[in-house]
Amino acid sequence: MHKFANPARFMRLSNILLPWTTGLTIVLFGFGLYYSLILAPQDYQMGNTYRIMFIHVPASYMALFGYGVIAVASAVGFIWNHPLANQAARATAPLGATFTALALITGSLWGKPMWGTYWIWDARLTSMLILFFIYLGYIAVWQTIEDQAKAAKIAAIVAMIGIINVVIIKFSVDWWNTLHQPATLIRAGGPTIHGDMLAALLLMIAAFNMFFVTLLMWRIQSLILKRRIRTLRLQLGGGRG
């Protein structure tokens, strides 16, 4: 665990990995988009509009996944005082918030043809919106507190309390039985969607995942560099003063 706590080692490792993950992201998106826009058949009920799903489902999944990453990284950072974990949690937040916003936007665009309205106070939409607010609160903590070490600790507590709400999101489908479709991907009798559609969806999920990993490494790098610049500036200022 502490082997990876060294920012310099992370910089070296991520510099090796970044070109590979970037390439993989592009390839996966290429295949995923080809499958989802061209190869996958039209839905007999929803026509072509269902193709929003190929963005909507991975985005929602990444929104939840992002919060999971924040919570785990926060716990690691809080318990072992692991600086890289804190930076990882911080770097994930804007990504997760963006994916949440993407899921909300695509969801409401999908809702217009399906339900006849952009917004319904349905269980999953509502909990996604709450997740978005939780992301905003978490980001605000980092922005409000200037002392980085203190910000990391307080943000970690916020993240660990907020994860409870993500659990509520997970079970909200069962709690309020509303208009939203029940989960079709994972259920006892196996997936109920067409083979090509499933392949497209899985490819898109994999592409989104790779995209997320790439951006995350990039952001952690930039946070580390930002810190270095700050330290160097302080040293310069101290030298002159």
């Binding site: 939780i134 605000a140 203190k150 600790k153």
Partner: protein
């Protein structure tokens, strides 16, 4: 140990009485917020009856948030908070006592005033007992969760807005289950599930809040 918690509760209550205005202000705010709604939605009795429970609950939630800012503020400013952290008594017990004092000084008065607002909002007769019961069961959770927020933001300069951004989303389950439970009674639907979930949420927040808040205070004072 328990005696210490009790002493802190008494101390906080006495302080809030001597400062005087805080409880009165919270109650006045509660009444005024509810009074705004008939102006906004119109005075039709039927509409007011429908939204009465929700409006009273949202107003209670906002009012209880109003006094969170000051929960640790004066202790932080005069150094008592540092003494609490340094003292051999567990900080978790201290913050728990402060949460209870906050509930007694800012939520209990709201519960006492709530029936009056029920009259203003044309709450059906069967709604009064459920309103009081759900408030008794639910408002402690507001103090516990809000207390976590207060402890997270006490050492910050611009803590107030951040505090509301952090804790309002966490208040949502209380609001949902409380209003569901009270409305179920009015409509004659089964109510126990909602009541149990509401109580469960309150107990759960009571269980985690002291630890989270104590950790936050230690991190903030470092």
């Amino acid at each position: 140990m328990l005696k210490l918690g009790f002493l802190i509760i008494v101390r906080d209550l006495r302080l809030s009485m001597r400062h005087g205005s805080s409880t009165t202000m919270v109650v006045s705010f509660f009444i005024i917020v509810v009074t705004m709604f008939p102006f906004a939605v119109g005075p039709e009795q039927e509409i007011l009856r429908k939204i009465s429970l929700g409006v009273i609950w949202v107003a209670a939630l906002l009012s209880s948030m109003l006094s969170l800012d000051s929960m640790f503020q004066s202790d932080y400013e005069d150094g008592s908070l540092d003494q609490f952290v340094l003292s051999p008594a567990p900080l978790e017990l201290v913050v728990l006592a402060k949460f209870i004092a906050h509930w007694l000084s800012s939520s209990l008065p709201l519960i006492l005033v709530a029936p009056l607002l029920g009259i203003l909002m044309n709450l059906p007769e069967r709604g009064y007992v459920p309103l009081i019961v759900t408030m008794v069961l639910g408002t402690p959770a507001l103090s516990f969760i809000g207390g976590i927020g207060a402890s997270l933001t006490v050492t910050l300069r611009r803590g107030g807005v951040l505090l509301s951004l952090l804790i309002l989303p966490l208040y949502i389950p209380v609001l949902i289950f409380a209003v569901l439970a009270a409305n179920a009674v009015i409509d004659g639907d089964p109510v126990m599930d909602h009541v149990l979930l509401l109580s469960g949420f309150t107990l759960f927040s009571a269980a985690i809040a002291p630890w989270a808040a104590a950790a936050a205070i230690r991190a903030g004072l470092e």
